[in-house]
Assembly symmetry: D2
Homo-oligomer: 382 residues x 4
């Protein structure tokens, strides 16, 4: 039985352009039961040489240098947005209006207001959509969700997460342009809050429910950096670090921290959840493992269990190799493609949708406001 | 050459009474160069049977059931206060007025005001004094201090610490009385803030300098518990959990968390400090190790180093066994006794003194106020 | 500039058929500078339905059910042998005689004699060849080789490795047939020795040079299992476990162990090498990390370093994501494809060649003989 | 009720003299229910200044410089032998003939023949005795024994242990004399076999039963060292490294390795036992933890458990602090003293007795013979 094609139009050829494309190219090999297969129909980037090279390397059939032209094409079913954050809203809204499905890289938007407009456009258009909060789909993280849903943890007391990096400690790292637009507030909207904490918040809400209020602090350790567009030193507008504590709707306390100034940590995303009966913790640097503690174990042999999530009865792992053999970061994107394709068959949304991702934007906005105002902010006000 | 005696009068026979006594009994065996030796002259507790049994087990020469009688004795050189927190101030002030040296269990006091009175009394009396923030003197922690002082870390960006326990999750744990006075706000002053975060704050100030402002949240998860004194359910007045972020005077951000509701963690005190060039982290559950990352290492072989702090050139370890052989929690108290005795010889204070420990009280008070007021508090105001 | 095609004919559609195919399909995406690209021209397996399904899923252009027919085709440049071990020799020799390049799954052969015939055929034909000892090409393992070659370790004293699994503890696991031919001595030649220790030996020789003599013990814990071909209980002919110690030519001692009866270990391949100045160890369950200890580090901060091998200046990692983001097991095969394609450009062999892999066969044969004879065996006699 | 005195006469004032003395001095503080208390009656060493200083530091009442004089005294109940190994037999036999209880440091003897004479003397005299294989009495190791005895593991397949050090890599380390007599074959009898593997073998037999045959290899990496007694370079007679595999009587395979040339390992004693249902492993560098894997756990949350052995229901830990607070190496000796004193009350032997420790000597002798002969040795022949 022939598979149905889903013709992809990718906008943006940076790091995320590569991870998404790899997801599309691998999904049919490893998820053979899917009835839909992605087709790399077109890729778009402003510079012809760049986009041509990308298309050549990855096998896109055609190229565009204007995203509006890409959206206007009739042979594109789904638009995948991998641009810097400042382009998300405009492209997504236009794509929705054109009736395209949309897969948007996280964070949804620079601001809550942009995000609201995007959700409105999506809902009006009624198109399939998802936001690439890919870490949900690492098997150990998905397993954590299954354990939460099983009720094994009991009443939750604490949730904590951090995302620590160290790549901007060097004052010579510029802002703006390829690779470093994440340091340019106009392009990124915010610093670690939108880039890294957004991941932590998305997972947290998924695992532990709504956040109700936040109290935050941010810091910009290096105040000026050269901007690649101008070649001049300019004030740095992003947050280099952000910490906040919060309440969840279930009564638990939350604690979040992110920075790009934690020497020794390349991409250390960790979370931990403490329940009455059991706790779990996870770490992106050892991503195939989930640690689990169950107080109901016999007392003399009770301890934190290191679950090596590579067995066929654990999430997604029946698709890959054999027990004990690890997969990597990139597989989270393959899984999100698979789940998106599956959602087209079932009619169920592919979480997080734009609407669900807006919840993370609300928290991010409240966090940045809280830091600026040095006061608690209630999420209901957002 | 005969050693000089330091005649100890211990007040309190609980957990800390045991750890301190063990410190006094072992110090001469392992620190033979000290010119002073502790003598277990007297121990005091209200109940005769209890104090007699303790004296018998540990070898105290005499007993008292009234601490005022102990202080009045001429054959006591130093008073060691191991009572619940609500007795610290009164005993310390009386002991100072009696000209006794004082070794006071942490936290210094229930409140900042009590602490100020204690410091005033000590300074007026001019007696030797120290507060048992014992974790400073675990070899790995002392090594961390040496590394900070060496300048290896460079500019500091982040300091974070937590102290996680799980022993009060059971609602049947009572408040008040032996072993559980830490849940009774009258006896303890506060919950995890004074009991656990005080340790974290003391280490932090020692390693990273002054804290300038704080923003905190506290929570009491179980609102009522039986009080052992009355047998009745009573409102719980302590903080079960406390989180705060802060600025340090050196411009770094701080993050602190403590709880007794983190299932799976028995006594997990951890800290981490991130500098421009190097970072360190430590964990009480594996207390002989210090983790260290130095960015100046050759890039392809750069990584977190696990330093097993058991060599003779590492702090205190020339006194114990041979490389690779671990010591434990209790040794921190032996080291503090050794350093106190040494301070009598050198005339240098034995840190933290009452005055230094008051700095921790200022932060604790600001933290509790911040949580109550849901606002930032400036430490200068305390 | 158009790439040159390398038309692959794959024989065997099991686990290794999948890993190799994935290697071919991904290499051009991630190694864009290669001038040759694999083309999935044909796949062969005895059962038409099976091979058709595999071709459909993975995108092979054509199928064969007779490997001789595959070898006879003019549109195949390279034959990849992924069959059970008992077919390796016959297919490889025929393919060599047909002038095909050969990529053969490890172990090279069931017996040393078979291996010798294969090497003779390859050398007579002068065709490019390689054996899939894929673990060499995990970045952390390749980094270990670079460190050895740098001379950082000094004189070597010890090499130890083990490969522990637990999947055959259940007596109901059958022998013979799909998935369990590894328990059938006719199909596999040996048990853990050829399947698992062969990996350990290959890495060891690569990192530490020749093995000169061995003393081994083997065990078959479960003596009879149902054979899938006959449905009857049959004597188990393979080794369930094998341990040996040995001397290396450089004077160091070696220690090797493998078993499928180590409860709790799914695929725990570890090695460690101890030199005069430095040591290293590695573990397949945390495959992106290499542990390194250098005695020349300053003594008070000396310790085992955990190197997270994900930076662009570490082997292969410039091809993948960004620092801190892990890759997995399967990437070792992509790397071997890349290195094989590169070898076609440079004219250098792609290690291990058949001839190099024969060295591992010599050790395996001596190990099995030593265990049978309960005596040391000198590798020179093989 | 007054305790009964056990008057100790210690022979030897080196490292073990310190650990044993500390055991005697602490036991009554922490094991208050014992009806017997050790009294430090006399200590003996050949050099008056040395023994006087030791007695002064540790509080021995009297000194001797001739061990025969010590044994002749009527005020000594028990003789503790902490000399180099070459004195064990003569002192133990004389002490037994004098009717003294004997506590002998491990290994029991240099040779099996010496050991046999010691056991004969002990049995003839009928005196209480024990050998200081202290690691049995670290709580995590004792817990491992309880788990074995519970039957949780099922049929055992594998036992492996190693003891890795690196302190003799430097060729300037001399042999003979204080601290380095362990490198002098006349004083020590053997190298790592008697010093380190003896510990591993003792634990192994205790946990897994008798060893039936062995195949070993030894190596002396540095062939000549200065002897402290002569100042001259002399041939090194000990084994620097020893590896052996073996069968246990229960059908499992054993694997043992020890060396003093494993750069980066100070005193890394580890063992692991793999059973049909469950496995355990332990590591002296993190001595308060035991790792445990139970295959009967629910599959999706199954993993290695890290048991932090610090709770009151775990072996010995009701005597110490509170959950989460670690003890150290030295506590194993306190526990052995406690168990010896208890054995005096119950009349049960304090394992390992001389007779039990002789079993370890049989294995050591067979191991050394096997290495010399390059052949398997059957323990029954010893």
């Amino acid at each position: 039985m022939a598979k149905k094609d889903l013709r992809i139009g990718l906008v943006g050829v940076g790091f995320m352009g590569r991870t998404h494309t790899n997801g599309y190219k691998r999904v049919s090999d490893f998820f053979p039961d899917l009835q839909t297969r992605p087709v790399l129909k077109a890729v778009c980037s402003r510079t012809a040489a760049t986009v041509n090279a990308f298309a050549e390397q990855w096998g896109y059939e055609t190229v565009e240098t204007d995203w509006k032209a890409l959206i206007a094409r009739n042979d594109i079913d789904a638009v995948d947005i991998c641009t810097p954050n400042n382009m998300h809203a405009e492209i997504a809204i236009a794509a929705a209006e054109a009736g395209k499905m949309i897969l948007c890289e996280k964070p949804l938007s620079r601001t809550l207001e942009e995000g609201r407009q995007m959700v409105a456009a999506i809902e009006k258009a009624g198109v399939n959509n998802t936001v690439w909060y890919n870490y949900r789909r690492l098997p150990a993280v998905t397993l954590a969700k299954q354990i939460v849903d099983s009720g094994k943890l009991g009443r939750i007391f604490h949730y904590r997460a951090n995302f620590l990096q160290d790549w901007t400690i060097n004052a010579n790292v510029p802002q703006g342009g390829q690779g470093t637009w994440r340091l340019d507030v106009d392009a990124a909207g915010s610093g670690v809050t939108g880039d890294l904490l957004a991941h932590c918040i998305d997972t947290a809400i998924w695992l532990n429910g709504s956040i109700t209020d936040v109290s935050a602090v941010t810091e910009t350790f290096i105040k000026e950096r050269v901007h690649q567009a101008t070649g001049a030193m300019q004030k740095v507008g992003i947050d280099d670090a952000c910490i906040f504590h919060c309440h969840f709707d279930n009564g638990s306390l939350g604690l979040f921290e992110s920075t790009r100034y934690a020497r020794g940590h390349k991409a250390l995303y960790t979370f931990e959840i403490n329940g009455e009966h059991a706790s779990m913790r996870w770490d992106l640097h050892d991503l195939n493992k989930l640690e689990y503690f169950d107080h109901r174990d016999e007392s003399i042999v009770r301890g934190w269990r290191t679950i090596h999530v590579t067995d066929g009865d654990q999430p997604y792992m029946d698709k890959w190799w054999v027990p004990g053999l690890s997969i990597g970061y990139e597989h989270s994107f393959v899984h999100q493609v698979a789940d998106f394709l599956k959602s087209l068959e079932t009619g169920e949304p592919c979480s997080p949708t734009f609407k669900e991702a807006l919840e993370t934007q609300r928290v991010c906005e409240a966090v940045l406001d809280s830091a600026a105002a040095r006061s608690w902010k209630n999420i209901n006000a957002y």
